[in-house]
Symmetry: C2
Subunit: 369 residues, 2 copies
């Protein structure tokens, strides 16, 4: 993360991300216009929202602007543009999990609006105006967000490195931790880093080389390198947060415990079996290959015992793994019951798509079903 | 911290430290030689220790080497040098507090040996061979450790910036935290940082300027600047630890909570009232001026309630402070009962000194009393 322009939501550095599968975590949005609607309205997860959100307004006006520029034969874009808009959105993100749902939400909304108004082209720049990282979620699979250099952000763009089908063995476990303390909003945080961290400059200098290396690792499906680059980058991001004044800390004792455990697993395996990455919060995103999921789940069950029957969610793994882990290799790591709330098992997935219309979230009268 | 040479114990960067008062935290050592002693022996806190410690042997042999070089009229240094040595040492550091007692211990031992063998001159270089930071504890008050550039470490030396009497209002609260998790020995840790942290280089470039600024702040008794430089340097040290691969983390949730609280106090005060510094562990060293101690203690009592009658140790502060802190300024900070084990209230103090001989720790037969 990190932004060089707060209004245009331009990043400080380029970055690579993985879009996650919609089976486990997704946003759904239905948009409708009608001459009968009296005012613009929006519902999110069943609750009506104010339309007076600067980012929401920015996204809608940019989509409409592109629509006006476009001539569509036989259609009457201007009329539609004047009708009032209803938006209904929901996501299946577990509440209070501290998982960023705004990226998925804005990617989905911008995609839906582009279909409604018949807009084509690079809509990821519009998604960026809603939530920075939403511009990456417009694409599926492995995505690069080039920061660009232009003042107006015109050359800040996203591109798919490879689709999710390129590396079908890759799996993601999202470890939702119990100690959800968050001191700083990520937007406020990074602006302070720009102003106060001496180490940020050095980090930014190293990013282009790191991006090239992780692109190569993804294209070659070289998990060991992918893991090392991912972990080092995550650690460096949080190091810069700590070097910010006043310091920003997203990682908790549980986050650090997970990091310690991952390095112990990798050392025991003589090669990287798991990688962690932490965003602006304490939850861990663990990457691994499908073949190693049962082993990793067994180890997580051992160190974070939890009797919740819904402790593991998402992609089903047949039970009783018989992975025969030798825990003597982890003798200096403490067992912490209930350190994790739950685990979501998912994988890389595609970008937004159009669903069958009878699954829409609005009635014919434009009200939530 | 941070070492560029593990054997000579040369630091990566110069540093400034404050020697703490011996009333609250001190080491005492009695050394004796006799033709009647059968072998070298050492006792530490009442328990006999092995003499086969490389650092201990290094310190003893260097002192003896200086003694041999020195001609002392009327004395027979060579005879003394051949007699067996008994060492008895104790410190009043609370056990399991995670406070580094080896710096005080080696400074005291080297000072005692220098008196025994009649050695003068810069004994801080010898203390360094026992425990890096012991070279600073040879001096009282505010001390700079210049890293030096020579391969053999001959120009790595310590110097007093100002004695403890220069800034008599300065006070130190040592917050001993309850979550004493320590993953990495500090010696192992810093070697890994040198090899793996991209950000360390940038940190090292900034150190000389920071040293000049804190020297000025100390000489001018400018607490606000002293506090800011101290906190930024502590944060950057721990940022580099996090940027190390695998990452090193000394700070716990409690450490971060203390940092957050200190910044809230300073913000509420519109100027820095408190500074924190963290060493290779989670305990906080808080600096403040004498006039602010009652307020800070009240705030610490409020956020870390503890019914232990020995919760506050060291310099006595008359009870019931009536500081009238307005806690609405700290409304987003959680109260965490028993997050601290105890607090030691101390201040800058002098370097080692000779005590009355009847207070020695050895009997005339060279055995612990």
């Amino acid at each position: 993360g990190g932004k060089r322009d707060e209004k245009l939501i331009l990043p400080l550095n380029s970055s690579v991300s993985v879009t996650l599968n919609q089976e486990e975590l997704r946003a759904r949005t239905t948009v409708a216009v009608s001459r009968n609607f009296k005012e613009d309205k929006m519902w999110l997860n069943g609750r009506e929202q104010s339309m007076k959100n600067a980012r929401l307004q920015s996204v809608i006006s940019q989509i409409k602007r592109l629509c006006r520029k476009r001539k569509i034969d036989g259609d009457q874009p201007n009329e539609k543009l004047q009708w009032k808009l209803h938006i209904c959105s929901e996501n299946n993100f577990p509440t209070a999990a501290g998982l960023a749902s705004s990226a998925a939400g804005y990617a989905c909304l911008v995609y839906a609006l582009s279909k409604l108004y018949g807009v084509e082209g690079d809509i990821s720049k519009i998604a960026r105006l809603g939530s920075g990282s939403a511009c990456r979620s417009i694409h599926g699979g492995f995505v690069i967000w080039n920061k660009g250099d232009a003042e107006d952000g015109e050359d800040s763009s996203t591109e798919q490195i490879a689709p999710e089908t390129h590396w079908p063995e890759l799996r993601v476990l999202i470890l939702v931790v119990s100690d959800q303390t968050k001191h700083t909003a990520s937007t406020v945080g990074m602006q302070t880093s720009v102003e106060t961290s001496d180490l940020l400059h050095q980090r930014l200098q190293g990013v282009p080389k790191r991006i090239e290396r992780i692109k190569k690792a993804i294209l070659r499906k070289d998990f060991h390198s992918f893991a090392e680059i991912t972990m080092k980058d995550s650690n460096q991001l949080h190091a810069v947060c700590l070097d910010t004044y006043p310091p920003i800390s997203y990682l908790t004792d549980t986050s650090h415990h997970i990091m310690q455990l991952v390095h112990a697993i990798n050392q025991d395996n003589s090669s990287n079996m798991v990688a962690y990455s932490f965003d602006a919060g304490p939850n861990a995103f663990l990457f691994m290959q499908e073949k190693d999921v049962p082993t990793v789940l067994d180890i997580l069950h051992y160190f974070y015992p939890n009797s919740d029957p819904h402790f593991i969610r998402g992609i089903h793994v047949p039970g009783k793994h018989d992975t025969h882990v030798d825990y003597t290799a982890f003798s200096d790591i403490k067992v912490i019951p209930r350190a994790l709330k739950f685990i979501i098992h998912t994988k890389p997935g595609p970008g937004p798509s159009v669903q069958e219309s009878d699954n829409g979230l609005l009635t014919k009268d434009g009200l939530p079903k």
